[in-house]
Every structure is written in structure tokens, then in C-alpha cells.
């Protein structure tokens, strides 16, 4: 039923794509597998395994690996839960050994991190974590500070829009959509952020496009479409790269 199915060494925990979807990183319980997918537009080419990492068996208490995201062309970040806190490990491609190696491992600045994600801007990738209280922390020294982007509590779905200053959008489990700490809508079922717009689906089967200006100035009554069975917008990384002016650039998959 799927376009491509490929196996990894042990059960998969999380999957991440890089900015131009040429690489897929799969985090599984024993390590990471990186697949390269050349020529996305040609459906018959299936992704090929290009890199692999096996986690070292450390102390008796096995750390629990939770999430993965890309942070550069050949670098991935993995969030794991160790004894007391959340730790972010960076794995990069080592030119000398020709393999993926662990390059750094640091506890996050928030004691327990819930989500690890990244946003793309001007060709660069900025990873960040979210703490239990909804606070966001950037994981790179470059890029803008996210200290004023704070949600009322931790939200499972997060995305960041960076125009004049970063605005963080997040959705809670019961459909409340927030921009920083401002509640936007209460009936959201999924959302997506593009360079100019916030797109969301609602429980009233509407697809809404909102032009992003600043946190307080977003007008919600503009541009909405009725869709029959709205449920989900799947975020494909392709969408975040294209400007909304491209005709036909928007593809909405309804779940």
C-alpha cells in the first residue's frame, strides 16, 4: 500500500526529513539509519541506505531515545531521556573515518524536553527543543533567541515562523492553536506554517489561510475554503520551501 517500504535494524521510533527531502533519518531502538532518496520526482527510485549508527551500550540503565531531526546536510540531532534529564546528541558525518559519529552530547537547557524540531530559513537549519512548561530553547548559538516564544504549556505540535522575529505556533491535543501565548482558535485539527501564511484545518471542515504579520495582528476571517472531510494537513518539507505564490504548490492530504 505504501510507495516504498524499507526495513531498519530494530523497531523504528521516529523519522525526520532534511530540508530538500533528499535524506531520511530513521531513529530506531538500536541506532540511526540514514537513507538517501535521489530524484524524489521519479517515483520508482526507492531510498537507499547511506549511513548507519549503532548506539553504544552504556551503563545498565538504558537511555530512552525519543526523537530525531536534521540540523545540517549531514548532521542529525537525537533527543533522549537519560537518568535525570533530557540529552541532545549530535551525530555527524566524519570525513576521516567515512562514518557517522557522535560529535557531541549535552543536556538540554530545559530539564525535561518534550519535542525536538527545527525550522529552516535562508538555507540554514535552526533546531530547538520545547520544555515541559512550553518554553522553547534554541539549540544553536546563531539564529534568533526563542525566549519570548513561550506557550502556556507544552504543546505536542510546534512550528516556528521567522519573519521580523520568530513566532512559534503550537497546537495542543484538544485542538487549541497558539501563537506564542496567544490563543488563536480552539477547534484546530492540524496546521502548517509557510513563509507567508498559516494554514489550518478546523473541526468545522474548513481550510483557513491566514496571512502572518505579527502575533496580534492576524486576521482570521480571510481566505477560507470548505473541504468535505477535513482532518489533517500532512507537513511535507517541500511545502515549507516554496512561496505561496507558486500556483498549485499547495497539496493538502486529507486523512
Amino acid at each position: 500500500m505504501a510507495l516504498h517500504e524499507f526495513e531498519v535494524q530494530s523497531h523504528a521510533i521516529d523519522v525526520a526529513f532534511n530540508a530538500d527531502t533528499s535524506l531520511i533519518a530513521v531513529l530506531h531502538s538500536r541506532g540511526i539509519a540514514i537513507f538517501e532518496w535521489k530524484d524524489v520526482t521519479v517515483p520508482s527510485t526507492s531510498p537507499k541506505l547511506t549511513g548507519r549508527v549503532t548506539f553504544r551500550k552504556g551503563e545498565d540503565q538504558q537511555p530512552v531515545y525519543q526523537q530525531i531531526c536534521f540540523v545540517g546536510t549531514n548532521e542529525v540531532l537525537v533527543m533522549k531521556r537519560s537518568e535525570d534529564c533530557s540529552v541532545v546528541e549530535r551525530y555527524g558525518f566524519d570525513d576521516d573515518t567515512g562514518r557517522m559519529e557522535l560529535t557531541s552530547s549535552e543536556p538540554t537547557s530545559t530539564p525535561i524536553a518534550c519535542t525536538l524540531s527545527s525550522y529552516f530559513q535562508d538555507g540554514a537549519v535552526y533546531p530547538y527543543v520545547q520544555g515541559k512548561a512550553g518554553d522553547l530553547h534554541s539549540l544553536t548559538s546563531t539564529g534568533q533567541s526563542l525566549s519570548h516564544c513561550k506557550f502556556p504549556s507544552s504543546l505536542p505540535w510546534v512550528d516556528i515562523w521567522n519573519g521580523d522575529g520568530p513566532i512559534a505556533f503550537g497546537m495542543s491535543g484538544n485542538g487549541h492553536l497558539y501563537a506564542n501565548s496567544r490563543l488563536l482558535v480552539k477547534n484546530c485539527t492540524s496546521f502548517l506554517v509557510t513563509p507567508a501564511h498559516l494554514i489550518l484545518t478546523t473541526t468545522a471542515h474548513l481550510l483557513k489561510f491566514v496571512h502572518i504579520t505579527n502575533v496580534n495582528g492576524m486576521n482570521f476571517s480571510s481566505y477560507f475554503y470548505n473541504i468535505a472531510n477535513s482532518n489533517q494537513i500532512w507537513k511535507s518539507p517541500l511545502m515549507t520551501q516554496r512561496k505561496m505564490s507558486d500556483a498549485g504548490a499547495l497539496s493538502v492530504v486529507l486523512g
Binding site: 531502538s29 530512552v64 525519543q66 526523537q67 531521556r81 525535561i112 507544552s154 491535543g173
Partner: protein
């Protein structure tokens, strides 16, 4: 098709004070947003301790001079509510066992049902004239399983003399029913064979004259080699019906469905290799059980009338299949979207999309409790807790709190 992404994973290890005493039961306390658990009793020590654990401990921040922020995490707080000696009233049991632990948020009372037959209530704030710890009822014969209804008004208990006893919230007997072999006649399992091979038309000829409603092979109900002989009870989400799985006549495992008033509604059709795992989907349409074959293990579904309604195969490695003491348990989450399959070395989370079952997440868990190893949060539909008690000294007992999105 949604992925289950782990956003929260907390572990609580009981402090050294509880060394030598295993964790025996755990449940959610919604009123105080914490977890209630019991330690003990063991064979050598009949003491039971009721402990509240607050897993949402707030970390403290300390700013050092150079401007770096250092944090130390206050370990999860726990408070011992009370403890008492509970010698087992039944001479047959070497050690009493907590079969059910439930916390009532409205009256701040915890209720324990013990295998020896005692039902104990612990009141955190007893009114005048009430005891803090009271044995409110006792079943002389001994209890094999107990489960509160979803609306917390009825307690269903199966006893060692094959009866099902219904008690009200105030622990008065409402009704009791005896489970007999006569019950097997309650349901006449006529299946018209929707979609099955024997009902397809193959052309004229002798074979076409066969009665399509009679299946080619009928299961006898042979027991599975891994059957743990335990009784299990599962209520439907609205509390109108409950399913009880027991072994009848030491030969066959059957699931009896009773209404809330104790009237037998139906009996499951015989299934070879059916085990004791039982979980009724809260939405009400499916009762999940486990069927073990020689080469695989299936999760099988029954309807309320006892007829089979589909199945899917579990993905097990050959090592997992051969484990002799593997007693698989099942637990639906509160909004019927995820089925947790609890194996000896991991817990699998399965979801259904378009009538196909997908394994969405697997969590490594070892040595979980045999009764209620995984308890889903009643309100947050993708949060659950797993309670484990390993060997007393080498693997410390611990909780795991997992939330996914």
C-alpha cells in the same frame, strides 16, 4: 495514519526505604494528578504500604556566578499515605495479592481487593466514626479477579467457587451469579460466514451442495500452553456490560458476557489456544483476546454476542514466541484508538486505520506486574503508566510514565 511520537518519558524508582518490598499495584489518582501504588505484601512480610507518587516534580534552578545556569532536579516526591498488616486469611495462598487498586477522587478513598478475599478501603480523610483503614467486605472462598465499572458504581468480583459477585459502591451485595457449564448453551453460534471462503460460490457440483453456514473446521477450545489460568474481567466503556474470561471445566477458556444486572448475555464461541488476556474496547464494538498458534500469536476480536469478528497477527521475533512464561496482556486506551499489547520484554502500541492494524510504537518494558501492568490515563488518551517489580534486590521496581502524541 498518525505516528505515535514519544514526548514524555519519566521513570520513578522507589527509594531505598522500599528495598526488599516489591511494587504490587498502581493506579492513577486524577484528583491530585498523581499515581497511587502499593508495596507488599510478600511471603515474609504481610505489610502493605499505600504510597502516592507525584511524577510531575518541578526542577529547581540555581544560577552560578559566572552566569551559567545549573539545575538540579528534585526527585519525584512520594508520600506514604498509610500502611497496615494484611495477613492472608486463606491458608491456601502463600502470599496475598492485590488484584485491584482503585482510587475514588470524590471521596478521597482508595479501595484494594485482595486475592485472599478481603476488600479494604483506605480513607485519607475519615469522617467522625469512620476508620482510616477498614475491611469492608470479605469473600471467604477467595477472589480470582476484580474490576470496578467505568462509572465507579459497581464492583464485579469473580471468586474461586466460580461465582460472579456484584457489589455497589457502598459494598453491599447487589447480585451474584454462578458460572456453570450450562452457560455454554446460552449462545448458538450461527455464523453466516461473511466473506469466508466456504460461502463463496465455486460452481455447480457436489461441493456446492454443502451448507455454507457450517464452517469447514470448528475449534474445540483447546487451552493454550501459555495460559496462566487466571480469570479476567473487562467492562464495556458505558458500564452496561462486562466480559469475564475463565477456564470452564479445566478444558476450555470461555468469555461470558453479563449485563450490569448480572444476567448472562452470551458466551464466546470456542477458540483453540485462547488465552486469558481480555480487554473490551471502550467504544463497545470489539472484545480483544489473544490466540496462540504454534507459529504465531494473534489478537482476536469478539463481538458482544460471542462471535468472532476478525483478528490480526502480532509481530513477534522467534525468541519472543518461544518464551515459556510469556503471559500477554491487552489494554485499550480511554478513547479506543490504541491497543497496548504487553509482552514479557516490551509493550507494543497498535492502532487501526482502514481496518488494517499498524504497530505504531514499541516501548521496552521488563518484569511488569501480572495484574494491570499498564494503566492508561482515563482522561489523557495517549498517556500511560507501566509498573514493574523485578526481583527484589537486583532490578529495582519502578514506574514508567509515557506520553505520546
Amino acid at each position: 495514519m498518525r505516528n505515535l511520537r514519544n514526548t514524555r518519558y519519566d521513570r520513578w524508582k522507589p527509594p531505598a526505604r522500599f528495598e526488599g518490598r516489591p511494587l504490587t499495584a498502581a493506579t492513577w489518582d486524577l484528583a491530585n494528578d498523581s499515581i497511587l501504588c502499593t508495596f507488599g505484601p510478600t511471603e515474609n512480610d504481610a505489610l502493605i504500604e499505600l504510597v502516592r507518587v507525584n511524577v510531575d516534580a518541578n526542577p529547581q534552578y540555581v544560577v552560578l556566578k559566572s552566569g551559567f545556569t545549573f539545575f538540579s532536579q528534585v526527585p519525584s516526591e512520594h508520600t506514604i499515605i498509610t500502611s497496615w498488616d494484611a495477613p492472608c486469611p486463606s491458608p491456601d495462598l502463600a502470599c496475598d495479592e492485590v488484584l485491584s487498586l482503585h482510587y475514588f477522587g470524590d471521596s478521597l478513598t482508595a479501595c484494594l481487593v485482595l486475592a485472599g478475599g478481603d476488600i479494604v478501603v483506605v480513607r485519607e480523610e475519615p469522617l467522625a466514626g469512620e476508620d482510616r483503614i477498614e475491611i469492608v467486605g470479605s469473600v471467604d472462598a477467595g477472589i480470582t479477579a476484580a474490576r470496578w465499572s467505568p462509572d465507579e458504581e459497581l464492583l464485579a468480583i469473580t471468586t474461586k467457587v466460580d461465582t460472579v459477585v456484584f457489589m455497589s459502591r457502598s459494598f453491599e451485595g447487589v447480585t451474584d451469579v454462578t458460572m456453570t457449564s450450562e452457560d455454554l448453551k446460552a449462545s448458538n453460534h450461527v455464523s453466516v460466514g461473511w466473506g469466508k471462503k466456504e460461502t463463496q460460490f465455486h460452481g455447480r457440483g457436489a461441493k456446492a451442495l454443502r451448507d455454507p453456514t457450517m464452517p469447514e473446521k470448528i475449534d474445540q477450545g483447546v487451552l493454550s500452553p501459555n495460559d496462566d489460568s487466571r480469570a479476567s474481567i473487562s467492562w464495556r466503556g458505558d458500564g452496561a456490560y462486562l466480559a469475564v474470561s475463565t477456564i470452564e471445566g479445566e478444558a476450555r477458556r470461555i468469555i461470558r458476557v453479563y449485563s450490569r444486572e448480572g444476567v448472562l448475555d452470551s458466551v464466546s464461541e470456542p477458540v483453540d489456544g485462547l488465552e486469558g488476556a481480555l480487554s473490551w474496547r471502550p467504544a463497545g464494538n470489539l472484545i480483544a483476546g489473544i490466540q496462540r498458534f504454534d507459529d504465531r500469536v494473534d489478537v482476536v476480536f469478539f463481538e458482544r454476542n460471542g462471535l468472532r469478528h476478525g483478528q490480526f497477527s502480532l509481530r513477534l521475533t522467534p525468541e519472543q514466541l518461544q518464551l515459556p512464561d510469556q503471559h500477554i496482556r491487552l489494554q485499550w486506551n480511554s478513547d479506543s484508538t490504541v491497543l497496548a499489547v504487553i509482552l514479557a520484554d516490551c509493550t507494543q502500541l497498535w492502532t487501526m486505520g482502514n481496518y488494517h492494524w499498524y504497530l505504531k510504537h514499541e516501548v521496552a518494558t521488563r518484569d511488569l506486574l501480572s495484574i494491570s501492568p499498564v494503566v492508561w490515563h482515563p482522561e489523557k488518551s495517549i498517556r500511560f503508566m507501566a509498573a514493574a517489580s523485578g526481583e527484589y534486590l537486583s532490578i529495582p521496581p519502578h514506574h514508567m510514565l509515557i506520553e505520546c502524541r
